[in-house]
Symmetry: C2
Subunit: 147 residues, 2 copies
């Protein structure tokens, strides 16, 4: 098993505001993909759609201002059964976001791609909260031939 | 053991040009840190200096246009004994860079930070090769309170 890990710090924000960007359709569509729909409450399934395909996340755990955990129930075969976890806390002037996308069966080349791509989407989340404008798909930062 | 993985694709470049950016002081100082010195040949030690500290990399393996491997011989305690590996190849219009920073003892919070930070430096490498100008320290993209 292998995990993708990331950490960012968001200035001039709060764990509550970051939590909102992770748990509302309006927030999620502001940094990950404009095509976000579905149910964001506990047990709900959120549908994220991108140019070539999509990902369905089941909301597995929610602790307001502290934790969001999703289970991947639809998407690329390598993603099925993996989980995405967001831990939030305030440290001085920064809201710290610890991110992990856990449980990859193999460290395949696609996992390398997703790791870098997650980093750019985390920077998009930071930018959304700090400036009011993120870079969600299709306006996302392109990193390679795999987009 | 845990690994940081990334993948980028560089347009309008070649494995030879990316290799050069990883194996010359001029190249390395254009995307990672302006304060780069030392010996870049096989068995040499390259010294990378940043605001708060530095990293010393021993050049463990070199295959022109294909592979660069470094062993961390100086730097933060969590980095000592880890290795950094760059695999290069051409795929159509893109030079594909597969990156791994391997052998972390524990997935500590600092590893989360380094993973995101490596992603921004890989994007700096891509930018350097595509536009002639990267974002090395101290002009690097800041991601948090840990810079």
């Amino acid at each position: 098993m292998a995990d993708i890990l990331h950490r960012i710090g968001v200035e001039r924000s709060s764990p509550e505001r970051v939590y909102e960007a992770l748990t509302t359709l309006d927030g999620l569509s502001g940094w990950w993909t404009e095509k976000t729909s579905g149910e964001t409450g506990p047990g709900g399934v959120i549908e994220f759609r991108f140019g070539p395909g999509g990902i369905d996340m089941k909301v597995a755990e929610l602790e307001p201002g502290r934790l969001v955990r999703w289970e991947v129930v639809g998407g690329p075969p390598e993603w099925i059964g993996t989980t995405v976890r967001w831990d939030l806390r305030q440290d001085g002037d920064y809201t710290i976001v610890l991110f992990s996308h856990e449980g990859w069966r193999e460290p395949v080349e696609f996992m390398h791609h997703c790791s870098t791509k997650w980093a750019t989407f985390l920077m998009s989340l930071k930018q959304l909260l700090e400036t009011g404008e993120g870079a969600p798909d299709p306006r996302d930062v392109k990193i390679s031939d795999w987009h």
